[in-house]
Amino acid sequence: MHIPDGFLDPKTALATGILAAAGLAVALRQTHKNLPRKQIPLLGLSAAFVFTAQMLNFPVAGGTSGHLIGAVLTAALLGPSAAVIVISCVLIVQCFMFADGGITTLGANIFNMALVGGVGGWTLYHLLTRIFPGLFGRILGATFAAWASTVLASIACAGQLAASGTVTWSLAFPTIAGIHALIGIGEGLITALVLAAIARTRPDLLGLPPETCPTTPSRVPCLTGQGPEGGRQACVDQPSAEKSSTPPSTSTPAPQPYASLLAYGLLITLGLALFISPLASTWPDGLDRAAQSLGFHHLESTTRPLPAPAPDYKIPGLPSGPLATSLTAALGSLLVFTLSYLLAHSLTRQTKSNPKH
């Protein structure tokens, strides 16, 4: 989802840059005001953690593998403002050390992944944890929010690419959103498993009372699975200094004042209104805009040497039109929500029925 240099036009790059800078400024101000000084190193360590966790490759079918993105995981563990800073830092390091995502598109990437993905995902997570309390609600919320944030960020990304005239909205939107709806399932699953693993050892990091987790405090389950196949579990004694030096609720998210949430909401709405609403309302105009902005609209009437794979802006085999899109989105969300519910149910039951750890 990292947009490389060269795919955004100046106005989109500039607009996303301003929005990202404003969002980052809100996050920095909010964190500066609310975060205790002793938690400042936690931001750097969490950024390093997200980067390291992204290198763990989870095997998917057919020799391919996927990895964690971590926006919702960070937001669930640290709160939205800290998550915006952490994810922005990860993106800056990826840009300058690995050329992963461009420097002129850094604003767009921060807007998509930190603001839309992180804050948007956290809002969903927060709402769901209000409705469903306890560990179950947290896992359910994180799973669904991780999926939704991946899809939302990808839609924002498609909108920016289309607004730049790089791709056609009607073609890019279903393709990019469709691919990320699948990637999002993996992201949701990994987020749920990692949260469940953290809850087994340190429920206080999730803002849960210690009795939710039947872990004995001096022993930390390490590395092996905690599944019903109990024979393969191994435990190590954690050095006691490691435990005792950490006060409980080190990183329980601070209550977020609504002013900053309002600011994030305004920025995200503004961004989505700028990039997506003109495209969504004028479906067939994407190519014309692209052609005009790139200065070859006079070539429009030339004969096509190849048959177009998607004539009339329709993906073959899929219904088109705004109604069908909304219907597909609603059905997809419902399906993922059901899956998240079942996953959260099985993970919490597993934790409860496995009191050895």
């Binding site: 964190t31 190193p41 290198m55 800073i85 050329a99 420097i103 490691e242």
Partner: protein, 205 residues
Amino acid sequence: MDAPHNPTPTNPSRFSASLKFTAAILLILATLAVPARFALWLLIPLVILCLLVLLSRIPLKPFLKRLLLVEPVLVGIAAFSLLQPGGGGVGGGQLFTLLLLRSTLCVIIMLLLAHTTPFHQIVTILRKLRVPGLLVTTLWLMHRYLNVLLEESQRMRRARRCRTFVPHRSHLWHTLSTVAGQLFIRSTSRAQRVYDAMCARGWNE
């Protein structure tokens, strides 16, 4: 993804970091300003940059590996211009060439910068550019502890292998997520110790 590289003091490394930083940004902006008609002219700076990469004697293997990892993304996004209705013709082909050439050029510029400039110098430049202190501190700490956490995750992997079992495929997801969870818990406790150590050494932001 590679472990963070270790820039060697070779030719482009002799210049100051801020010069390289400015040059890279100017080059990228110049590349982006090239209109679609002159797309093929971008081949000239591409060849020059490739020569510069060879002359700079930076290790080629990690450089090419990064480039090969990023390139499919570039081709993938650029290919949209061929697939769109009316694409495949002159317009689509021209747009495809432009997008692919200029994004590849930008990636090579950024990789050249990354391989000749240590990241802490870039953070110093960011600080001079008045990037807020909290962000700079976070970047510094992140860069400092990246290798530590990578080693930690490798140690955990080694420990798992030593303890004799090859996890079943379905079990692997569970195992890997436990590793990630443990990594986070260790990061938080390490953050606490780092804070204590920073205070002991007179840290004051």
